[in-house]
Amino acid sequence: MGFLESVALYNFLRGPMVWITFIVFIVGSIYRIYTLINLAKKEKVVLPFINLKAAIKSYFHWLIPFGSRSWRLRPYFTLFTFVFHTGIVFIPIFLYAHNALWYESWKISWWTLPETVADVWSIFVIIGCLFFIGRRIFDPTVRFVTTYSDFVFVFICLFTFLTGFLAHYQWLLPYRAMLNLHILFGEIMLIAIPFTRLTHMYYFFFTRAWMASQAASWKTKDW
């Protein structure tokens, strides 16, 4: 526990590692998007077919809960997936503690979540993670196509939120050890986004646009 609690590790994770993480995440993401669009340009049919109006309609229907038939067919999945995904994007940005860090470093801050909202939301994200894991184990259809990486993705998210939550209340492990773990998992998650299937964070918009355009050309809707 000595190393995990050490100030040296904290300073590293809090200092250079943050820079590395954000640079890898941002540059990697831009690179991934850039290469995908470049590849799409080489194909004759992709870009000329993109119908922006249909794509935006499709985003709208798929980004609101129960906005599409597929969401309505699986209410529990929809509930958890929306709580989970909105949580994973918005809680880190609007958390008071994170804002304080930004303020400490760069003297900038913005609107923050009330503490109870953040707590409840985090608990739901954690439950969502457990739900996804349970689904991967107990639903035969999903189990058949599940690979180890799928579990790894969910566990990274789960640990990030769990350690963050526990660190906030200073339960289980000493505060600094838990905090170090929390920062570590968060950084692993951000770094993993450009390199793994977590790219669905931004590939969503491309694949959705393609299908929406195709559906529009058949005069049907894809939600």
């Binding site: 669009i37 798929w62 058949f144 790219t199 669905h200 590939y203 646009a209």
Partner: protein
């Protein structure tokens, strides 16, 4: 009184050597059974490189985005009508075909190609429903189409589909109908229709018309009455229309699409458009 279901005879089952969950009744199809004896791992790898070797945006986006959530399963009629058997889910079909090929980089044994061909040809209707249920709108059908292309390049195609394709290769229609047969049929239907509608004509190869109608090959062959019905409709509606007999490109069904034989697909479509341009027709009407 409860009806006692008769216990059917134990059917021979086929269990995939790669996926123990993939259990199906044994089928005999020379198009699959015989052709996998002829292919070698080198040929398979070559076919793999031809279809999946070049990185393209669509394949990349689809394979790298799928998060294995299984929502597409609810869309698939194969999945729903087989008691929600996991191996019938669209994502499972992709797993057993493309992921497996990509994982092994095309270095696979012919026995896996048999499984792949069976999945891609006989357990998917390429209907696109799964893409409409996928949260990411991944074009799963496109991927299955590529798998079919991969199998076609190796010649591992169910016999009936391949025979139909051969009909198109040879005659550009799916029923081996010759040009003289076709013209004869049109004259016959014109004669039959005349009894019901005065001065009924089935115009052939008229230039500068408004509409050119391309039937399905099954219509002159088996559903001949469709032709005079359409002729009556056009005549009563007062449309200037024509059918085409100057060459073999008159069948609008594009069955090679189902095995992704791009060359024959192109010959058919190009033939239809060229003929329409030759007769300066303004609209193409196809039988659906």
């Amino acid at each position: 009184m409860a009806i006692k279901p008769e216990v059917s005879e134990e059917k021979e089952v086929y269990v995939s050597p790669y996926f123990p969950e993939y259990v199906r009744p044994k089928i005999e199809d020379p198009g699959l059974d015989e052709t996998i004896k002829r292919i070698t791992p080198e040929k398979i790898e070559k076919a793999y490189q031809a279809v999946f070797g070049k990185e393209t945006a669509r394949i990349k986006a689809i394979v790298e985005t799928c998060i294995h959530c299984g929502l597409c399963a609810e869309a698939c009629q194969w999945y729903l009508s087989n008691d929600r058997d996991p191996t019938y889910a669209p994502v499972a079909k992709v797993k057993m075909t493309v992921w497996e090929l990509m994982k092994r980089k095309g270095k696979v044994e012919p026995s896996l190609v048999y499984d792949i061909a069976r999945i891609a040809f006989t357990e998917c209707n390429i209907c696109h429903r799964c893409s409409l249920y996928c949260p990411f709108g991944l074009d799963i059908t496109f991927i299955i189409g590529l798998v079919r292309r991969f199998c076609f390049l190796l010649g591992v195609v169910p016999q009936r589909m391949f025979e139909m394709n051969q009909a198109f290769m040879a005659t550009l229609n799916q029923v081996w109908m010759s040009q003289s047969d076709y013209i004869d049929t049109l004259f016959w239907r014109e004669e039959e229709g005349m009894y019901e509608l005065k001065n009924l004509r089935i115009p052939m190869d008229i230039e500068g018309v408004e509409v050119i109608w391309y039937p399905l090959a099954a219509e002159p062959k088996a559903g001949v009455y469709h032709i005079d019905r359409i002729a009556k409709i056009f005549q009563v509606a007062g449309v200037k229309w024509t059918m085409l007999t100057i060459n073999d490109s008159w069948d609008s069904s594009n069955m090679p699409m189902f095995i992704r034989d791009f060359f024959t697909m192109q010959r058919i479509v190009r033939g239809l458009y060229d003929n329409a341009a030759r007769l300066r027709a303004k609209k193409l009407v196809l039988t659906e």
